[in-house]
Structure formats: structure tokens, C-alpha cells
Symmetry: C2
Subunit: 125 residues, 2 copies
Amino acid sequence: MDSDVDYDVFGAACPSRPVLEDVTGRWGSLAMGALADGPMRFNELRRRVEGVSQKMLAQSLQALERDGLVNRQVQSTFPLKVEYSLTPTGEVLAAKLLDLIGYLTGSMPSILDAQQSYDQAHAKT
Amino acid sequence: MDSDVDYDVFGAACPSRPVLEDVTGRWGSLAMGALADGPMRFNELRRRVEGVSQKMLAQSLQALERDGLVNRQVQSTFPLKVEYSLTPTGEVLAAKLLDLIGYLTGSMPSILDAQQSYDQAHAKT
DNA sequence: CTGAATCCACCCAGATACTG
DNA sequence: CAGTATCTGGGTGGATTCAG
């Protein structure tokens, strides 16, 4: 019904590339993963995603909102209250992301072993 | 049998974080995805992952090799021949990555719409 | 062919301070 | 509370050159 198999991330100019970076990027991926637990306010996210700065979190969330993966709902009360949540598409992507992350963290023991072996084999001096 | 649920990517100092960046990073993710089609030589990968530089590809592959996700097999003939392939763990991660990428590219039409709406609503002047 | 090494420009990301 | 604005240092990534 629709034109299948159109967008190819391997293509240099494919518009899907920047979106992929928004989703899998350093902070974007963690923000998506955090929001999979349910809607959250800005500072909640900030606390959940340890180490992220105000600037980078705001920036990542804006990119995801622009991609239609995250919703931003403002309550114009005082103090200001802003809630972030995943859109339907965002939820699917977040689930796949968490699946990947889950497998990765589960593999950490063997990964750490591999790193140690590698570092030992490539030790300088 | 093993200590479950130990590593948490949301923790600032968790060793899983850099690994996640290796896997989902700009070039790492595409390299993994490309290798899911089967073993490949350096320049084959370079052609497949359009836009990647020698330096970044070599760097990304090294990181993935160190993490035990990619195998590097050298044939000391002349000219040199080096073949990259996924390890068992790497294959699982690559599959999950391609699953995510597939859904994302399939959602591109709606994502592009969202971007356009967003840009229009936030137009300057 | 497959990288490593060097140089360098640019952008990103952190810190800080300020606004709504 | 939820951002924006500005400044700045350091890291990233590209081009080029050299080596195994």
C-alpha cells in the first residue's frame, strides 16, 4: 500500500540518519528509556539520567519532540510544570531501545572480560 | 546463578554507558548493522557506511572489537586482508539494532511530517 | 590494502548567570 | 520550575601523509 523500503540509513544523505542519532545518541537514548516508565517532569528526568546537564537534556528533548517521538505538555501554573511523555511511535522505539540496553547490560560481565583481555594484549611498554 | 540486574545505564559511572555509546554511536551502529549481512573487509565497510572516514571507521571498529562484539581476522598476505565479523553477542545486538532501525525508517513518513509541523510552528520572524 | 600518526578547525558540551 | 543566553576549553572528526 505504501512505498516500502525507501529510507536507507546507510545512505549518506538519508533523512533517517539524524533521527537515528537523536534516538540512539548519548542522552537521547537515556531520556527515551527513562520516559518508558511513564510521563516525567523535566527535573525528574534530570535526576533519573545521571550526569546530564540542563542544557543537553533540554536539547535532546527538543530534538525528540521535533521528531514526533516525545510529547511536551505545559501547565502554565506557577511554578511552571512541564511533563514529557512518549508518543505512540516513541513508545515502540523506546521499547526496542530498552530491549537492546537490557541485553547489553546482561552481557556486561563477558564484555568487561573482553575489554580486559584486549587491554592486556595491547598494553604499552 | 548469576547476580542479576546489576548494571544500570542510568547510573553516571556505570561501565555499560561507554559500551552503549560504542554500539549506538554515529558510526558504530551503522558498522554493526552492516556486519549483520555477513563478514566484510575494511574497505567494503567503508563503502557500505557512506560518509564515514577511514579514521572514524577504524576507531569505531576498534572500540567494538575491544568490547568483544566484533572479530578482526587478519590475513598476512600482500596486500593485507582484514575481515571483520560479529561475535555471537555482537550478532544479537546487531539484530536488535536493525530491528530498531527498521521501525524507525518505516516511521520516517510520519516523522518527517512531525518535523515539518514543528519547524512551521517554531518559525522565526 | 589496512591502518597509524599528525595537524587543525570546528562544534559540542559544561559552567555560570539570567529570564518567565 | 523550566528553560535560555553567553562564554570558553577540550574533544571530535576530517584531510593528509606515512607505514606494515
